[in-house]
Symmetry: C2
Subunit: 205 residues, 2 copies
């Protein structure tokens, strides 16, 4: 996979303690993004974090636990951003614009994490997979509720609410695939552009 | 990675001859989708195709050549579909709708191939990478030309033509990530929904 640059900062992982566990998560994101989950060993990850395999084992018993931790933090953060937008007040258009802007910005800034989270979903164990799918359902429900609010108030005209919700989330998530920090658009600029495009998708004729 | 089902048929690879080379390509797509490029060996691929590593070597000298063949066929097919839509006549809206419908349908039907092509772009050798990037630039240019036609004729109202082109392609490509053949929408239905959403993105107020 094409990893142009590592994440600009480690804000996404600031809640993970102790320090050693956080360093391991950051190393795992980089390793999974570069070589894929299945081609990465816990030894590779420990090495990148400047630790021994035994030291890794203190914090994570398996490689899957690391992937689950990454996926869980990423999905919880996404859900929190969408909830914040849904509760931000203003018209449905204001809230939809805010949701798209912050969701896009996150997927641009944390594009390496976003790729790992999206591409390696199938490598999670069954219980972890179920838990992550539930977080995704909740994010979808929050986005859908904003669109439904706009349809109810007459601000939006949408033929297929669940299909449009899916498309809006998909459009935002795919930013993680193509975003290039050396490219000509900043995360904020893409967020603005996408908020406009999504509001066009739902506006009445 | 989550591979719900193998491709419904092998139409995408019908131009690859002889038979043995085609079988190897199909086996490689499945193996790369399941385990990632870096975790797959040419021995795995030969085994899946019911062939010996020596027999594989007659057709493909390296694993990267297989990835290149997959990526090349996929990108050429995408470009051909978009060109066909651009030359299909009718209004710019007709052509944009046709482009989105056929591009979406391809990414839904060949979602396993689509994932491999998109996720493993960074694993191509430098020359092959340059060639594939050029094919992507051409696809982008064809989609942009349809949107520009509509802006010129006054049928479309678009603030940022290149940004909108990028968003439209991204929306269609990401279908390969989330499409599930057991899900409730068919490739045709998603194509219809997306054509409507994209035409909404570009319509004048």
């Amino acid at each position: 996979m094409d990893v142009e640059a590592t994440e600009p900062n480690t804000e996404a992982w600031s809640d993970i303690t102790p320090d050693a566990a956080r360093r391991l998560v950051i190393a795992a994101v980089e390793a999974f993004a570069e070589r894929g989950y299945h081609a990465t060993t816990t030894r590779d990850i420990a090495g990148r974090a400047g630790m021994s395999p035994a030291a890794l084992y203190i914090h994570y018993k398996t490689k899957e636990q690391l992937l689950y931790q990454i996926s869980s933090v990423g999905h919880q953060r996404s859900l929190a951003l969408l909830r914040q937008a849904a509760e931000s007040g203003g018209t449905p258009a204001d809230r939809l614009g805010t949701a798209v802007r912050s969701f896009v910005r996150w997927h641009a800034e944390y594009h390496t994490t976003g790729r790992v989270v999206q591409y390696e979903l199938g490598a999670l164990g069954p219980e972890h997979h179920t838990e992550i799918v539930e977080l995704r359902r909740r994010s979808e429900a929050v986005m859908r509720s904003i669109i439904e609010d706009g349809v109810r108030s007459g601000d939006f005209d949408v033929l297929d609410v669940s299909g449009t919700t899916l498309a809006v989330l998909s459009l935002c998530i795919d930013v993680a695939r193509w975003f290039n920090p050396a490219g000509r658009r900043t995360p904020d600029e893409i967020g603005e552009l996408y908020a406009d495009l999504v509001l066009r998708m739902v506006r009445p004729v």
